[in-house]
Every structure is written in C-alpha cells, then in structure tokens.
Amino acid sequence: MWLLKTKKGPEYQTEDCPVIDKQVVASGYCRVALHAPVIARKVDPGQFVQIFMPPEHRDHMLPRPFSIFGANRKNGELVILLEIKGRGTDLLAGTGPGSSWKLLGPLGTGFPALSPASLLVAGGMGIAPLAFLAASAAVPCTLIYGARTAGQLICPQSDLNRPGLSLLETTEDGSRGEKGTAVDLLSRLIADAGTVFACGPRPMLAAVNNLCRRAGIEAWVSVEERMACGVGACLGCAVATGSGYKRACRDGPVFRAEEVILDG
C-alpha cells in the first residue's frame, strides 16, 4: 500500500479546532489555546501547524504557519503563541472563544530528544518551539530567552515555570535579566553545554552556529520560511543548505545548524 504511514494513520491531517482560550499577553501578542485532540496527541517539539484563514477571507490564500508552543496529550489542548505581524495574524487574533480554527498538522521535522546539559537559546518569538521542547524534556535543561527590551519578553512566566528548567533572561537594554543578547550569554555558557537548540532571527542563528562550530558543539536550529502547502509538495519553502535547497516544512523547520546556510 502506498499510504505513507499505514499503521499509525496519517502523519498529519486537518482538524477543526474550537478556540478555548485567548489571552493578550502583551500588546500585539496573544496566547491561544485550542481543542485539537488529534494533533495534540501526535505533535513533537519543533513541529508546527498551518492555520487556515477563515473562508470569508478568501482573498488571503495561504494558511499561516505557527510553532506548537504547548500540547496536552490528555485533554487535547494545543497552545499557540501568536505575534500580530500582518493581515493574517490580525484576523486570527481578532477571533476568540466561540470561534473555530481549521488547522493542518502536525507538520515538519522537530527537534531530536534533549540530552543532559542541553542549552536552549530563544530570541523573541523563537521562544514558542523551545518552551515546548523544554516542557517535554525528560532531563533538566537551561533556556536562554533574550529580547531587545523587557516588554518583548512576552512569554507568560507560567508557561516557563517547569521543574528541571533553569530560565535565564537577557535584554539588550538591561531592562530585565542580564544586559546583552542571548548570544552574549550563550558565549559565556557554551563551554559547559551538551547540545544547543536555537530559534530566533536569522542573524542570531548564524551567531549561534558560529559559536557552536568553534566550540565543537552540536547545534540544531529552527528556521522560518514563507510556506504554502506545508506538506512538502509545492517546494515553496526552500531553505538553502550545503546540499541544495531543502523544504522548511518537511525536511525542517529544524535542521542541524551546520547544514543550513544561515548568513546568505
């Protein structure tokens, strides 16, 4: 038979998901909890979902990709951290409990399992997949969470408050946590690191990669690209790698840092 994974059922699928909770966590950011039992059961840290635009807004053709920020296999809750960037995120953020979102997922190749002494490095919205990775970890780990200023450390503390997780915050202006960038802090801690997992703006990922390569430490990064299908069909989400273009949605979004051409 030619189904991709016959025994487990399909890897991914669409699911109509009632919004069960929406909190504005900072101006322009919200945390949305959805009832998505099928996707929540399957998802691994680093994977993502595509959220379809409501059908009455068909002038917006493309679904929008969002990392899984949290998933509760038992009660089927799936959590997304959403930054309003343009029309699509604005539309989504404008709905709330009582409405339903159509999701496609879980999609993509997530992070490998955490080894002891793993160091997680999140810049800005890069917190979303890493918070989920930290929460799913079987071993203790350290999470560096950096932003320009305190107001941009928008992730609710309650979502980072896990046993075994040491949280280190940095801000460039020193308004919260250590003064400096997440990479500055990483460069001080890297000597003791096992594996490094990073998500954030491209320049940050490039810096993380350079640090890790010099230190001889394994590093994984999660990258963003514009997407259409989300399932590896259209080849729209090309990421330049040492061995040609790969698909962010299927071969990634998580790649070995050394594999991706990050400063191109």
């Binding site: 189904l3 068909r58 259409a228 399932v231 080849l235 090309a238």
Partner: protein, 325 residues
C-alpha cells in the same frame, strides 16, 4: 447557477422529480484519457501527489498532473519563493524538481495505484530535453499522458519562452510528438498577445489537447528592504485573482482548436468549474486552491453533481461550450 435551478424547481414539480432521478455521469474523455470526473490536480501545487494523500479524497480527482519533471534535477530559485497577493499567490519555484530518474524511482510508485489518471508535466530548456523526457516516459506503466509545459525559457532562442512564439511552439511539440504515443497536452503561457496563434501551432504539431493557463507574470517589491520581494525578482500569479483572464483564454482557444481544452486558473468552486466547462473546457484543474482548501475537489464534484441533477444534465458533454452558442 441558481437562476437556472430555481426556474426548473418552480416550473412543474413533476418534471423536477423526473429530472432529479437522473444519475449524472461525471466521466469525461480528455484526449483519450478517461477521467472518472473532470477535476484534475494542476501541476505544481499538488507536488507528486502523495504528500496530499491524507488531506484530499483521491476519488474526487479524475486525474493528477504531477509537478514539472526535467531530465536532470533542477535546483530552482533562491528564496523567498512565495508571496501572497490580493486573492492571489505569486510563486517563483523555478521548476525545482528532482529529475526524471528520481521521479520514476521514488514518486511514481507511490502514485501508480492511487486511483486518478496520472499525467506527467514535462519541463525542459531545449527541444532535446523535452524530447528525451517524453521518450523515457513513453510506455512507462501507470502514466496516462503527458502535459508539456512550454512556458520555460527557450535557451536557444535567447531565453524567450517556447510558448510565446508559434514557430518555437510548433518545433517543440512536433519533436515531442515523434517520441511518444502517450496523449499529449500542451500547457500554454497566458503572457502572450494572441494565445490562439500559439494554440493552433501546438494543434498542428500534433497536440492531443491544450492546457491553460499557466501563471501570469508578476512581481512584488519589499518596500522595507527596497528590493524585489521574490528571490527571483519575477514570479507567476495564480489563484482566484486571475480567473477571469483564464476563462477568457479558454473561451478563445476552445473556439479555435478542435482538440479538447483543459481549463485552469483560480478555480475555486463548482460554479467556477461550470464557467470553464460552459466556455468550452473538457475538464478543469485546481492548483492554488489546494493551499487553502485541500478538499476543494470534493466540493467541486459535489456541486457539479448537484447542478447536473437539478438541471437534468446526464453528462457534461451537454454543456461543454454551451455559453458560446
């Protein structure tokens, strides 16, 4: 659509009952390829098909046209390759594909028994490349037809696409025709002054059918970066935004050639599909629609069936090109 159905409903209740008993037959013959229904996955968005297996009910697809296949692997364009526009999508994939060998080894086996008829979209930069792919595919089990995408740049003719010049079109199609007995659809670019001249050249050279339209050339600029948004500067516009343009070209070509026409470009509903059929298309293809609704073919088939029942139409041949008369 509704006006027609209302009229018959309000006419005689008895007549309506009789009409409703008709079991519509959605089968169509697209230049020798018998499709269970007239809805096809257009080349590109649907990849090599298997990626959509969990999302799209394949019974709603009369056929699948796989993504463009070239002789050797093509790397495609630098990112970004995609941008959303008002009711449209701009893409510059650059015909990124793993090449013929990998298609035959890896993708074809996953699709061969999937149900829908299988059509391979063929791309090349020279007549020789087109011909060699076509000749390799001739007689391969599970392949029901070829769609020759002549919108690629013609390297010999200075990079202008084959599909913008009738002479180059004639040459390319004749060459491919000699190398395969498979039904041959020729896919035309809409970026021309007179699409009928190109369609006629393709027909004279032995095309069994005409596919249209491919994407409209377009671009966007990233104002913040002060440079083109797409890595390739230019891209192709698809989606509902281009539907009226596509419909007009289908109408014109269907009035020009004798071979069947496969219509596409922004099809978004059964009503859109009916417009293409009434303009003269034998079958229709959905591309960009998969991105926002992987179940679109199911909805289109349901809508066509409902329309045929309500209007007492037993097969689509009865309304093919009917708006022309």
């Amino acid at each position: 659509m509704d006006k027609g159905s209302n009229q018959s409903r309000n006419g005689s209740a008895k007549k309506t009952d009789e009409i409703r008993r008709i079991e519509p037959d959605l089968k169509v013959n697209l230049c020798g390829i018998i499709l269970d229904n007239p809805v096809i996955a257009a080349s590109g968005p649907f990849g090599y098909g298997h990626e959509y297996r969990a999302l799209t009910n394949f019974e709603a697809l009369g056929g699948i046209i796989v993504k463009g296949v070239s002789l050797e692997p093509w790397t495609g364009n630098p990112p970004p390759r995609l941008a959303e526009t008002a009711s449209g999508l701009l893409n510059a994939i650059g015909l990124h594909n793993p090449g013929l060998d990998q298609f035959l080894e890896k993708d074809l086996p996953l699709l061969r028994d999937a149900g829908p008829r299988l059509i391979v979209n063929v791309v090349g930069c020279s007549i020789n490349e087109y011909s060699r792919v076509a000749s390799h595919l001739d007689g391969v089990e599970g392949i029901d037809g070829l769609e020759i995408n002549i919108s690629c740049p013609n390297v010999k003719a200075g990079g202008m696409a084959f599909g913008t010049d009738p002479e180059a079109t004639y040459q390319a199609v004749s060459a491919v025709r000699r190398r395969t007995k498979l039904p041959l659809l020729i896919k035309l670019s809409p970026n021309v002054t007179d699409i009928c001249v190109i369609a006629r050249a393709a027909e004279e050279a032995g095309a069994d059918g005409i596919s249209l339209i491919n994407t409209l050339a377009g671009m966007l600029i990233d104002v913040g970066q002060k440079k083109p948004l797409l890595g390739n500067t230019f891209g192709g516009l698809s989606g509902p935004a281009i539907m009226p343009v596509a419909l007009k070209m289908v109408w014109q070509v269907a009035g020009t050639v004798k071979v069947p026409v496969l219509g596409m470009g922004g099809i978004n509903s059964a009503e859109d599909a009916l417009q293409f059929i009434m303009a003269g298309a034998r079958a229709v293809a959905v591309g960009t629609g998969f991105f926002y609704d992987p179940e679109l073919p199911v909805k289109i088939n349901a809508g066509l069936t409902e329309y045929m029942k309500t209007n007492g139409i037993s097969n689509l041949g009865r309304i093919e090109g009917i708006a022309r008369s």
